[in-house]
Subunit: 180 residues, 4 copies
């Protein structure tokens, strides 16, 4: 992994979990958040930038405080406390599933001269999967650590990982493998 | 189904099947081609336009004759003979997985005032699935007849159908249900 | 003008004017800011939403306070005090000339069911002109009040207005004509 | 000029000139066509690819023969005979003003590893100007030979050239300067 050309992308982890099976996803998101955090801390020491791309919760503003305040509830609180962006991280909103659709991400990545994306976050079979395809169509290399994404249903998560590995040529080892 | 606002989209059926498991996909594509053809003939009588969106086979030209000639071989011949576009159909090339990425499809659909897309073609778990998400992000209603798409592996096809039904709100009955 | 389908777009008025001829543009921007403000206040009473789309000053964040703080200086202060967004306004960043390129504007406009854009701001012959063409290609009707845009050089502003009128079919009367 | 990273783009020269002042533009297009042809022949010997990006005349097909047939008339014939694409050239259709909007151009340029675009064609103050801005926003270097574009009105052509030079950093010498 060429650290100077790599970015860590954290998808929809600032989340209110107010949807069908939200509780189920929140439980897994706890584990995933801890893994992402460790990976992020390691990568930060290597100079890899972190970019949050997150649902805007119909606020249509990339105002982090408002989005966190909107999302904070009993289910989400402990996750949000762990995973929220620091001053140094980038924070973009996305209005739809894909991190590229209606966002400045592609331009930011060009400015940072990024060639490889490490995708983490939720849901693995929705926003992560469709974002991964959009990244693939734009010729980025993909790393999607298997224990840094989660989906409502375990089987769907496995399927998404298989698709990203086979169709989108993603590297999908557990996060510790990328901390070397 | 409001016929006046619906378009039939046929994805990558002009295909050379020269890839891993291409023979397996070709076998299923035979069945699918017959179903698509029946659906297309019915919809044509109702005034529904048909739009082919197809891989360009690195010719970078929407020159139908060249693409058919390039794709024709023992495996593909009988499929191509069945399914190829008529003079009245639209024919667009796509350079990547999605029917929207790097194509004029969205503008053509706006000009035709289309709100509902019927997606057919191959591979169900790749180009159809990712195109369906791009259509969903652009607010189109989706119909994806379950017996008009195919994937290398049956299980992958089933999974893609489930995803499109649950996540992208697609209607996925067999094609005969849309011939009423 | 159908108010329920119209949005007011304010382009790059949160500005530091730190560029060639910035002082010249700032002088005109004073006048323009006063006109935009009057128009905005009128349109707000009619239920027309206001959307700021603004350069991000390489902060890559739609954090209004940070951008205002970054932009505030002797030249800009009185303009910024007049024209800054209220809590009710939308605020998007754009990384390049066009208000559509790398932004969620098109999706926001779809959600608000907007068909007509009133474009105001600076520079008339750069970001306003190129944004107007992107709006035209997306089939929006255009109103560009002649006294609500400014360019470094008066001649360039006139030319841009003429182009937008002739090529992009924009309506370009003075702002008072749209306060009826 | 680094020939290996340069592409020649010919905009809307396959034209029926059936619009307001079409005859005026056709007259100038004669001269421009001759210049473009000389430049194209020179650049071809240097290995520079030529990409036509052309209005689709509502045929929604990149079928060169049909478009030429549609466009051929008394006014256009001698221009079309001079300037039409050879087998080796790329030919893309565009549905709107910009060569990038709703086209695969950006992907084709990425595949060819192009960094510099030489833009030629008509109309200089419309499709060429707006395409140039879209190229600039995508970080391409621009060469726009001053005698290889034309607009209905000479003054508008001059203005577009000035804008492209000053705002989009285009190099705008006469075509002979790029034949060295």
């Amino acid at each position: 992994m060429n650290n100077t050309k790599t970015a860590l992308i954290i998808i929809d982890m600032i989340n209110d979990f107010q949807f069908n099976h939200g509780n189920m996803l929140a439980e897994q998101a706890q584990v995933v958040a801890a893994n992402i955090l460790k990976l992020k801390q390691f990568l930060t020491t290597k100079g890899v930038p972190t970019i949050y791309v997150n649902d805007h919760y119909r606020l249509w503003k990339a105002d982090l405080d408002k989005i966190i305040s909107y999302c904070t509830n009993e289910t989400s609180r402990s996750i949000l406390e762990q995973i929220q962006p620091t001053e140094k991280d980038y924070f973009l909103i996305k209005p739809k599933h894909s991190i590229f659709y209606g966002t400045a991400l592609n331009m930011l990545l060009a400015e940072l001269e990024i060639e490889t994306l490490i995708l983490c976050g939720i849901a693995g079979n929705i926003c992560v999967l469709f974002s991964a395809n959009d990244a693939y169509m734009r010729e980025y290399n993909l790393i999607i650590p298997s224990d840094c994404i989660a989906s409502n249903v375990a089987e769907d998560n496995e399927f998404a990982l298989k698709m990203m590995r086979n169709v989108l040529k993603a590297n999908t080892l557990p996060h510790k493998e990328y901390m070397k």
